[in-house]
Every structure is written in C-alpha cells, then in structure tokens.
Symmetry: C2
Subunit: 514 residues, 2 copies
C-alpha cells in the first residue's frame, strides 16, 4: 500500500513501532499483563499445595549449610538441629514472615527512563543468564570469551523488548574465575543503560556487585538500602537444601534492601517427586523458606517467588523444558505466588539444541505458561538454547520476536464506535474492498503488529529473495543490530571509579574459587 498519509501516531499496537537503524522493532514498553490470567487449579487445590508445603517446612525442614543463615532462622523462632544443619519452621512463623514481603516494587536503572515496575500487572523480560557456552550458526557452539560476551550484551541493550540484562549471557572463560565477575559487572554497567542482574554466588561477588552498582548511581553501597536495583537469582539446592554461597548472596542482598529471587530447581522425577503436584509442593516449601530468610534479614524487603519446575526425560534423566508439564507448573506457580502475595518469576526455556521449530514451539509453551501464569519477571526470556547450557545469538532474535508478539497480544483490543467501523462497512458495502477507504488510510500504518524477524512474503517472492529461513534471517538481524549498536553515555568520573574499583579488587585477588 502506498504511503498516502503522514499520520504516524494513531491508535493501536503499531504506535509502539520504531525503526532503529535498518531494523524495525517495537519501542521500549514493558508489558502489562492481562487482568485475567489462566488459573489452572481451583483455590482449594492451591490451598492443598500451600498446606503441604507448610507441612514440609514444619516436619521435614530445610538443610541449611550456612552457619549464619541457621542462626538467623533460630533467632526468628525456628527449631534448628545443628548436628544435621536442619531448620524446621512452624507454619505460623513462615506465614507471618512471608506476609512481610511487598506485592510490588520498582527497580532503578542507570538510565532513569529504563526503571522498571515489577508486580501487579507489570512484567519485565530479562535476557538469558548463566549458560556455559555460546553459539551462532556461523561458528557453532563454543566456550564463551569476554569479547563475545560484550557483543551479546550490546544486542541486549539494542533490543527494546528486553527490559533487563539477565546476569551475564554466558561465562567469559578466557578470564580468570576469581575476578571474571568484575569484568562482567563493568560490561553490564557500561555497555547497557538498562537494569542488570548480579551474581549471588557468595558474599564477595554480591558485595562487588553492590559496590559497583552504587558507583554507577553515584551513591554509597549503604544508600542502596531503600533503592532496589537488583533482582538476584538464588537457587535452592533441591531437594530442601540451601548451600553456603547462595545463603551468603541472599543475606548480602537482603541486608542492602535488594530483591532476592528464590528459585528452587525442582525437576520432577529427579530433585522432586515425579508428580507435578508434589514437585510444586516442594518448590513452594523451598521458595517460602528463602523468602522467610530474606524477611528475617530485613523485614519488608522485596523478594520474588521463582518457579522453575519442569520434568526429566525418564528414559535418559535429561531435563526437558517447554513441555506441557512445564506449562502447567508455570501457571500453577503463578497461582502459588499470588497466594502468598509475592511477585512471580518464571522463564522461557527449551531443550532444543538447534534454533529450529522445536526451539520455537517449546519456547512458546514456556511463554504462554509463564505469562498467562502472571510472571512479573521472565528470566531467560531471550537467548536460551539447549537446556540453558548455551546462549544463542540467533535464538536471541527469535525470542525477541516472540516476546514482541506476546506484548502486542497483551495490548487491549479497542471496541468503540470508531473501531467497529459501521460507517466504513456501509460505505464499502458488499463485494467491495477496504484498502483505500478513509477509515483504513487513517490507521493502516500503525494498525498491526510489525515483525522484527517474520517474513510474510508470498512463496515466489520469498524464493526470489533467496528462500531464507527464520534462523538465517535472525543471523542477519543480530549482525545488523550489532553494527548499529550505540554505546549509552556514561559520566567519565563514574567510569574511572568503576575501573579503579575493579583494579583494586583484582590486585586483591578477587574471590576464592575452588
């Protein structure tokens, strides 16, 4: 259709469209979740799971390996068996502590325009965090380097649909383990102006993150206490165990008013019961134990409820992701989080090793699971491949498209005399067409979702243009985005202070590693 109108800011989802360089993508706009989510279970069934979880914490308890964490639990009224490092909490203690957590919070970002509301109907999408490997279709899978990690971070900055960096897209294995986290934090701060995730593995890495983020805001670490900037992923060691590094990270973050995201990794049939209800009961117990510990450290500190229940392939023991069981577990996890009034974190996952139809349909099952389950933070929202062992450059783009589509789906459908268009229907009449009507001309540019990756050419045109499938197109998209990346400005004194802090910590030797 010819451009016959200059109306660029009409109503509808297209309003959010923005061409940056040669790539059309949606503008920055964190999604607003539907008012009606999918409630897979009835309230009495949710109550049964909640009650089972409280029974687990009361009767079985958690094994807490960290001495300080056990002391904190004991001080709050838990029964602690020091010989077995076992912590048991009665149900009223857990319920009272969990009730202290706020239902929503705001995360600050270096760019104030990128601050994030989390909770209620406000959701955010974070990039993949934590894989060991990186891959693209040019060079295949390989160990990550710092240089490549920085390229990946630049793409995360460039993709508007990613609202938060997810804690390092993959390990920079060419850097020393003891100080690698410092280089990651520096890159997260300087290559992006978005909110970013720290590593919660041990007190030292947590304190380094807090120091460096404070420097980036030009404030002291102590002043962070009333300004949440971090969602820090804390994984319990399912079943029912909290190890020392995670407990240290949790305590450090909570002391500083930061948001711990307590995420049990309850793979049904391995680290939790083979039945999804049982796996969820255990997940709920572990999550509530972690949330309670945060509230003991600092009453009222924001926290998140992480759901990561999936199942293993019982033939091989390998984890499966984006399965029907995953979808159900994600939606019920959302219900459990709402039951205790804590914002919910879920993930976009697949077991596929190739950026193919399986990767897409498993991610779709995961996204519909977590978003219709009411996830306020979708971690690994873009880039996750191969069961989370790999960050893929092409999957990043495929996922960005899927996320944009979900966000567009969540935009309200307007029903009004203007959109019902009775006058246009009268004017066109039977057997006419709507291409050239004033009603169409006034709206066509912004009427519909504009894709980042999808190709809608008819077959002949598609073949003429090379017959290029989605994964190869994604390869072109990320390379263009990378070529057009613009580094967000940073005050040179802040940059110097960050470099000084890094240099000092490197001289000190960084963190202890085994």
């Amino acid at each position: 259709m010819a451009r016959t109108t200059s109306r660029r800011h009409g109503p509808g989802p297209g309003r959010s469209k923005r061409v940056v360089g040669s790539i059309t993508q949606a503008a920055w706009r964190p999604p607003i979740l539907p008012s009606r989510l999918i409630e897979l279970l009835e309230p009495d069934q949710i109550e049964m799971i909640h009650d089972a979880a409280l029974t687990i914490l009361e009767e079985v308890g958690m094994k807490v390996l960290d001495t300080r964490a056990r002391a904190l639990f004991a001080g709050a009224g838990a029964t602690v068996d020091e010989d077995n490092m076992r912590v048991r909490c009665d149900r009223s203690m857990i319920e009272e502590l969990v009730a202290l957590a706020p239902a929503s919070f705001t995360l600050a970002a270096r760019n104030p325009g990128r601050s994030l509301k989390v909770g209620g109907r406000h959701s955010i999408f974070a990039s993949v965090g934590g894989p060991a490997f990186v891959c693209d279709i040019d060079k295949g899978r390989r160990a990550g380097t710092y240089a490549e990690m920085c390229e990946y971070l630049k793409l995360i900055q460039s993709l508007n649909v990613l609202h938060q960096e997810g804690g390092g897209p993959f390990e920079a294995l060419d850097l020393p383990a003891a100080t690698r986290h410092l280089d990651l934090y520096y890159a997260e701060i300087t290559l992006l102006d978005k909110n970013w995730q720290p590593q919660g593995l041990g007190r030292e890495r947590a304190i380094d993150a807090l120091e460096m983020v404070a420097i980036s805001f030009g404030i002291t670490r102590q002043a962070l206490v009333d300004m949440p900037v971090f969602t820090c992923i804390i994984n319990t060691n399912s079943p029912l165990q909290l190890d020392v590094p995670m407990a240290e990270g949790l305590i450090a973050m909570a002391e500083h008013g930061q948001v711990n995201v307590i995420t049990p990794f309850t793979l049904a049939g391995a680290m939790s019961p083979v039945t999804i209800a049982g796996a969820l009961a255990q997940q709920h117990a572990e999550a509530m134990a972690g949330i309670a510990l945060c509230q003991i450290v600092r009453p009222g500190v924001p926290v998140m409820y992480g759901g990561f229940t999936s199942n293993v392939d019982m033939k091989t023991g390998a984890p499966a992701f984006g399965t029907p069981e995953y979808t159900k577990a994600a939606q019920v996890s959302g219900q459990l989080a709402r039951r205790i009034g804590v914002p919910f974190r879920s993930s976009n996952v697949t077991a596929a090793n190739d950026v193919d139809a399986q990767a897409a349909y498993e991610s779709a099952m995961a996204l519909w699971g977590c978003l219709m389950g009411g996830a306020h933070l979708v971690l690994h929202a873009a880039g996750w491949l191969g069961g989370g062992l790999t960050a893929s450059f092409e999957k990043l783009i495929v996922d960005a498209e899927m996320l944009q589509m979900m966000a567009a789906y969540f935009e309200p459908l307007e029903v009004s005399p203007e959109t019902l268009a009775l006058d246009a229907i009268r004017d066109v009449g039977p057997a006419g067409h709507f291409f050239g009507t004033p009603h169409t001309l006034a709206r066509y540019e912004n009427a519909f979702y504009a894709p980042l990756l999808s190709n809608w050419d008819n077959y002949d045109t598609w073949i003429e243009r090379g017959g290029i499938g989605a994964t190869r197109r994604a390869n072109t998209v990320w390379k263009r985005l990378l070529a057009e990346y613009e580094k967000p400005p940073i005050d040179s004194s802040i940059d110097d202070a960050l470099r000084d802090y890094m240099a000092k910590r490197k001289r000190e030797g960084g963190v202890a590693t085994n």
Copy 2:
C-alpha cells in the same frame, strides 16, 4: 532410567502413550477444552460487536448471488432487493433463526470408534484442507498429484492426534477438474476410517459427497438427515457476499441435516475494516447470515461458527497469519460464537514458507488463540504452510507434536495426597534424589508427556547422532509412518458400490467447471 517395573498403565498423561510401529505417539483421544477459556473482551464489549453485526445485516445486508437462497431468505421474512441481489434481515429474525442451532452434535465416522463429539468442552483437530501445492524438504514445493495426495491421507489416518480429515490436503492436479472430487472422496473414505470433510463448492460436488458417504455407511442419502457426518466449510465472499457455489453447497448440506461451517474470510484492511473490532463485527454478521440460512433450510440443523479474521501486511497486501491480531481475533470469535450458542471453528495458521522457527511460533500463537478461545473444530490443525497455499509433509509432523502437547496441557493436573507425595518427600529428605523411590518407580513410565518429534538429548549426544534439527527429524517421522501405514478394512461390497458410483459419475462428465 532402567526399566525396573512393568507397570504400563499408571495414572497421568502417559497413559495415552502408544507405540505404533517405530513411532511413539499419543493414543486417539480428542481433547477436552479447559473449563475456563480466555475471555479477552468484557461481556458488554461482546454485546457491542454482536449489536453492530445485527445492524450490518439490517441496514447494509448481504449480497446473495444465488436465486434460491434469496427466495429462502424472502420466505423467512427478509427484505430482498432483487435488482441488487441484496438481502436485509431485521435483528429479531436473525436472532430467532440463530437460536434454533444446537450447541453441540456428534459426527459419525466409518469406524464407530472414531465418532466425534463437537461442542461444549469437546474439540477436534482436522488436517489441512484446500492448498494448491504440496511440499517436502526432499523435493520442495510442487503441484499435487493424486498419488501424493493419497500418501498424505495415509499419514492423516496414521496420526492419532488428527481426529478428522480436513477436506483434501491439496489438489490432485493430475486429475480432471470435473471429476477430481470423486477420486478425493473415494480416497478419503477408503484410506481412512476417520470422519472426513466434503467439498461444498456447488450442489453437484455436495450431492456426490452425500451419495458416497451414504454408500460408505450402507444407507441411503436421505437417511443421512438425522445423522451428521459432514462438517462442510462454507466461505462467505467477504465483504458481505454469498456466491452461488457456496450457497448451493450450504443448501444441499443443510437439506441433508449436515453441518455447515460458516467461515467469513475477513482479512482486516482488505476484505474488512482495518480495525479488528470492525473486522469481527463484519465476520459476525456474515457468519450469522449463513447460520440463519441453514436454519431456514432446515430448522434445528447443526451448524458451526467459523472465525478466520486475520490481517494483511499493509506494506504488501499479503495476508499475515499467527499474528497477535490473529490470536486476539480467534479468542474473541470464540466469545462471539458462545454468545449465540453455536459451536466454534478456528484454524492453525502461519505465513512462513519454511518449516522453521517462524512456522512454529506463528502456529503456536494461532493454536493458543483458537484453543484458549474454545475452538470445537481446529481446521488446518496440521500441515498448513505458506499462508495456506501449501500442504507440507514436515509441517504435518511438527503440528502433530504441537497438537499433542496442547492436548496434554489440557489434561487435568491431579492434586491429591498421593500426588502431593509428602511421604516420598519425607523419605528422600534434604539433598537426596527421587530417581529410585517407590513413588517414582510406580509412576515414571507414564508420568510425563512423551514426544513424537522433540529431541531432548544433551548437546554432545545430539551431535554424535548427527546434529539433526526438527524439520529433518520430521522428514524421518513421516516416512516411517508412511512405511508402516495400515489400510483400514472396508467391506468389499461397499468398495464396489463406491467404485460403481464414481464410474457412473465420470461417464456422466462430473461437474461443470469453468
């Protein structure tokens, strides 16, 4: 995990697993829709669309090209302008006629075990119908032949997740147009024992279908009147027109008590307003006009409400499918169908020309749209590619996997003392594992969804086994299914009678073609 138990029929979704030949697939079990669907619009918004549709039928009316159809409308009280072939119906006439349609019905199949409930929470999945082309990754896209069409039909018979054949997967262009439908019907009847769809294009094709299906049941055509066997797709020519062949097909089917599926093709921005609300108002008007005509022909005859609203790419005019707009339109279409108490038909669609990530994510958007919208018939549920111009052998398998996953997702999550597994959690305790527990051993074989196509190998194993992506694996799956196809038995006298009918009709010259 080693096979340490012989329990094969435990509870859970795995119960439906069935190994046929070398392929593991879900057993025949049409899905039960969730009790709570996604209601995207509020009741008052649905009422606004319904009211706008009634206004359209009252004030603008439908252009009805078929003389007999106009006479039927006139006889029922419509205002008919013969010069302009325009039919206008007041709202009470439409509402009274539409109210005669039943909310559910049962479709008979040649194999009584394959009969289908449609309506309420009962949904069925039908294979792709109508493309001009066929493709696979060995030979690319090409015009269809009868031999290849028969191969495709054999796969539809073999895939348990397909409950109905969708009206011919692609045209057999090596056969004469005047009699091609007879060969299609014969293949549909004899290569499958499932329910199948006829072609409603003109009275003659419809009558041939009715004659041949009656022969296949060993009854007369007149005896079909009280036994629905056909869902016949009737497309209005949007905007607001019903042509002669479709009207003839509709009338023939309704006279014989068969189910017309009235499906306006309201592409927003082309054949309907650029606003989705307007496109839906027009869709609703056209669908109600068709449903009303069926009820004039035979009061109380079962019908279906077809929703096919999507949007065009405003840059090229090409139709887009599986977009966020499509998803919303499908879910609202379900609400509109429920508003008038008529079972709902929707579709699994994509614009992708390759069986790639785009094909999968667009199909996922379509499937979540139509199924959470309460579709009782998902047409094109498997095999559709390239905007519906092509039936793909590999997409058939990808879709079958996605359909199996959706059906497994719909299976209820059991919450009971047994599934909450408190005893198992107590026994395993912190830091243990659940692999070998009695609770796991009693359930593991059938605990989880078993995939048809997905590969869950870890990366190294996946590479060792050739690093084969989903589309190439799908190629292997369909070839195995085809090699292992078993023709369902048919009484030789019925087979002879079908051949005699075909021969007679071919001698007569078949149907008129232009």
